[in-house]
Symmetry: C2
């Protein structure tokens, strides 16, 4: 069982920031990644649709014999995290709990900001998770719907992105937050710009780093860490064209990305229905 | 048969600009609109995936007994237009031919620009269609991937949108085009801004207007114009949450949009397979 891979899914390529951190934190583990690029994005879609897509992704990963599933998508974690955790036969780690825990630990003024997609922010999941960990905290949430398309356009450094970041982040500056959670797996690629706009007094929390740490803890605690001497395997599955996935994916994880295979997520059923 | 509705589909809400023009040009016609909001956008996805989604959308509209199908999405027209036209039992009108014809007719310097999504531009469909209609024409195509998310964010007038439009349109200005085709159904909402950036010497072609004109011609030519005295009916179907569709849709077509119904496009099969 410990030799089996970790399963990771996301609506598209953003979850590869989590893969990058998993490889850093757990260099011996094999990984199967599924990016639902035929139906990306999840962030602007309804709860019901995101739950259905997440259940299909989980069924697909279970069919690939994974020992643990990481939901490397904030929207999917917000809408389907608890549902999957309570119904799947393997441990499930989402990106929200680890990020919320790190934010609660880092905040001294008890004024925490969260940025994410429309779906993540509307769900209120970060708000709830941070409050559970830190009494009397104020949480300020701000959706930033244009950040994902800007990152995917390769415009992380563009003056327009700067202008948009200033507009999105102004309300959080006005609230004098001391910690800001990057609540979307694409946002670590805007870390420099966001840090520049928010200034040095605001600490940024990267959910990808915290999630990898959590996965290491869960695997260690359940005796599931891989100990085999042979090198780990990385497999990448996508529901849209493998070619474009590979192209953009190499920006995230470099030479780890070899072959990408096309899969149909509708073919594996819904794990929980 | 003439009493049956016109079927219109798009990846999401953008195709409602075509509905608006259809209602203006053909106020007596009933319309069934399908927006594939659970899988939007099509513009960044592969040919194979867009063809499959388009076939499912066409099957769904045929099940609603339509007399003609309008593909109100440039990417779907580019990838699946000819395939659907040659295989469906009803006339099919895409948005590319009418736009290309108008551009060819309007250009005196024979320097035509086209803007659209990545998928539309990569397909080369406008380029081919304009060349077929105008000998020795030069066609300059420019993808503008951020325009759709900017429109959906409601930022048609934002300074960042201005900055982004200037960057996208600069290569077209440098080529001294005299006609610019708005090759995406969202772009008419940026018409003011695009006109301002390009200046008064460049004529803008709105594919939605041209497509409505084409539909009127096809219905008239085949004896399919509705002549019943009773008022027409408008139905709106969406694959994601009807609530959000209605919210955004009312910005496009106002009080025409009453109830929106949820449908599953995977339930109707593929018309051509």
């Amino acid at each position: 069982m410990p030799d089996r891979p970790i399963g990771v899914f996301d609506s598209g390529i953003g979850g590869l920031t989590v893969v990058r951190e998993l490889v850093r934190a757990l260099p011996g583990e094999s990984i199967v990644y599924f990016g639902d690029t035929a139906r990306v994005p999840y962030g602007s879609k309804s709860r019901e649709t995101v739950i259905r897509y997440s259940e299909e992704a989980a069924a697909l990963l279970l069919a690939h014999d994974v020992k643990l599933i990481v939901i490397a998508c904030n929207t999917a974690t917000a809408y389907a995290g608890e549902r999957l955790a309570s119904r799947l036969p393997v441990p499930v780690v989402g990106v929200i709990e680890p990020g919320a825990r790190a934010a609660a630990a880092a905040s001294t003024r008890k004024r925490v900001g969260v940025i994410g997609t429309l779906g993540t922010i509307r769900s209120g999941a970060y708000d709830l998770a941070v409050r559970r960990k830190l009494a009397d905290v104020q949480v300020y949430a701000q959706p930033c719907p244009l950040f994902v398309p800007l990152v995917e356009e390769g415009w992380a450094e563009h003056p327009a992105t700067h202008l948009i970041a200033e507009e999105y982040l102004r309300p959080l500056q006005a609230e004098h937050i001391d910690v800001l959670v990057l609540g979307c797996t694409h946002y670590p690629l805007l870390r420099g710009l966001i840090g520049q706009v928010m200034g040095p007094t605001v600490q940024l929390v990267d959910s990808a780093v915290e999630t990898a740490r959590e996965v290491r803890g869960v695997l260690g605690g359940t005796g599931l860490l891989r100990t085999t001497a042979s090198p780990p395997r990385y497999r990448f599955l996508a529901s849209d064209s493998p070619m474009r996935f590979r192209e953009v994916g190499q920006l995230f994880v470099g030479e780890l990305m070899e072959a990408v295979q096309h899969v149909d997520p509708e073919a594996y059923g819904h794990v929980t229905s």
